[in-house]
Amino acid sequence: MKPVESIAEMSGRGDKPEILFWVGCAGSFDPRAQKVTRAFCELLQKAGISFAILGKEEQCTGDPARRAGNEFVFQMLALQNIQTLNAYSIEKIVTTCPHCFNILKNEYPQLGGNYEVIHHTQLLKSLLEEGKIKVAESKSDRGKVTYHDSCYLGRANQVYEAPRDVLNHLTTQLVEMERNRAKGLCCGAGGGQMFKEDEPGDKRINIERTEEALRTGANSIVVNCPFCLTMMTDGVKAKDKQENIMVYDLSEMILKSMIE
């Protein structure tokens, strides 16, 4: 990964990015999600896309607070973020997190933040189709892949096919779990669950979903969300199947298959 510029630095030299990359809390701080952040930056750099990040000026979008019921904290964060974004006259945003994607796209407009927001899987699909990203022809040696729909990209925003289209560029063996697309099972992290212990029950949701993924016989579970990434990785560890199956973000899958 080449150095990544912040919007402040870019504006400082009088330049403007094509697109702002909204990194999100997980992408910024979680070690595993940081790898995804870097992989995605590398893809953008290879595709020759001019982008910037908010860097230290970025704050949480407020999604977990809002869904937990804390509208005050959400409004605080969102209104400050909108001030920052509007100050830099941001028009287009890409995120690697479907929660950030959903809230920026659907909920910031009522607060005065109007941007064109896309999820990284959608951008990657167009970069592949425009030929700005090239992957090796041979798809066979990449093994069986299963794709896990995140709730906030899938049911919340009806994006089911873009990530699958990308995967079909990479492999001939995309296998579906029983519950997929509109019926896809949650990983268990949404709605603030990521930040609390489970309520009493028989099983963890991520275990239920991981078992379903294991039943496909895939070698890789591909996700589009940093929280799904954590939950599915934990699930695989809990089932002691790290040898058999790996969990990747879609951008990592592409990066692995790229021709330099």
Partner: protein
Amino acid sequence: MLFLSGKQVSHFYTPHCMGIQQIFFLITLIIVGSAAVRSYGRVFRNIRLGRDEVIDGNEGARWKNVLLVAFGQKKMFTRIVPAFLHLFIYLAFLITQIELIEIVVDGVFGTHRIFAPFLGTFYTLIISVIEMLSVLALVATLAFLWRRNVKPVGRFVKPEMTGWPSIDANIILLAEIVLIGAIFSMNSADAVLQGLDSDYYPSTGKFAISGLFGPALMENWDKNVLVLIERAGWWVHILVVFGFILYLPISKHLHILFAFPNTYFARLEPAGQMTNMPEVMQEVKSMLGLGEGQTETNYDELPEFGAKDVFDLSWKNILDAYTCTECGRCTAECPANLTGKKLSPRKIMMDVRDRAEEVGRNLDSGSSKFIHVDHQTNGRLSPKNYDDGKSLFDRISAEELHACTTCNACVEACPVLINPLDIILQMRRYEILTKSAGPQDWVPMFTSLENSGSVWQISTERDAWTQDVNT
């Protein structure tokens, strides 16, 4: 109107003695009509206990939902077997309305099968289709009874289904069987009677099923017996229908009416979009100095945010609750419920309806013990001064609310576009904003968000990951 029944004979159940039946029908119609106005009026009043919410715009998309989802049953077809079974009953129900109009006209005017001479072969066709659909509906009804009682489908045996909800479901299915039996006895006897008294019984042509069964079974039966069977079938049919009309407001079966308005008023925004709280937004804007010139708000009493009771929900949330037929597709898809947590989206909807009913009953009682202590002096009990010391939180526990992952699976699963998630989120808002309660685990997250703008309290900079550059 009695001129139509001019040829009167003294024998009670001969068809020519229509006067008594006509009077009895008219009285029944008036009683049922006024009882229906009262009980449906009560349901509408209960729905309007919710706060006002303007739901309009985009009529095209709204009608499309009504046509595809309510009329077209689109969302039922994600589960193919029950979809077809349900379709049979639904189609039989829809098309029987034509016959029902005739029954009401005949009942009021003392006529017999008044549409038959006008419609001719088309009449034969319509009634034949009704008969064939009734057979399919009977098969479906038996299958549904099987799926509920003999080999129960998982979603029908959840804790919230014990007692009244499962009795309710069975009552409807049994009533359907009685109804279908009545249709066939009426039509079969009529087929034979047409040959015996063509003056009174207009020729209808041969109906698909009763046209064969009737003559084969009842050919040489006594005329008086046949008349009795025909009349019994006719009366049982209409009385079951009247009973149905009065039963719906207290039953899960209300969905046959409310599915239509409920799909029309369903939200059209992306499922992921939460409703904004403009009052909180304004407050925070003025705190941040972003105010659009407004003065600071002074509250006489601390405002309440979110939903504690049915009064705080939107009227649409309560319409959702009355539309719910307790099929449990939401609960069957809920990740929390699937993994043994207490949350069941269906139960949320049932609780909201039960609470609205409870408040409605208390309001009807007019008792001053339900008037809020601060308002005791001024007048009559009304939704404005209502306080029975209870709320939705007496029915829906924090544990249920906290188990939700906001994944929208319940919203997606509902065949009539009910949104249980919206209610859960409004109640979470009440818990956090008004009660300052909620899971302890969330406190550090909120603190961290307020202090450092990130969900975790982490000492490194937000852009530290950019330092790991391999050149």
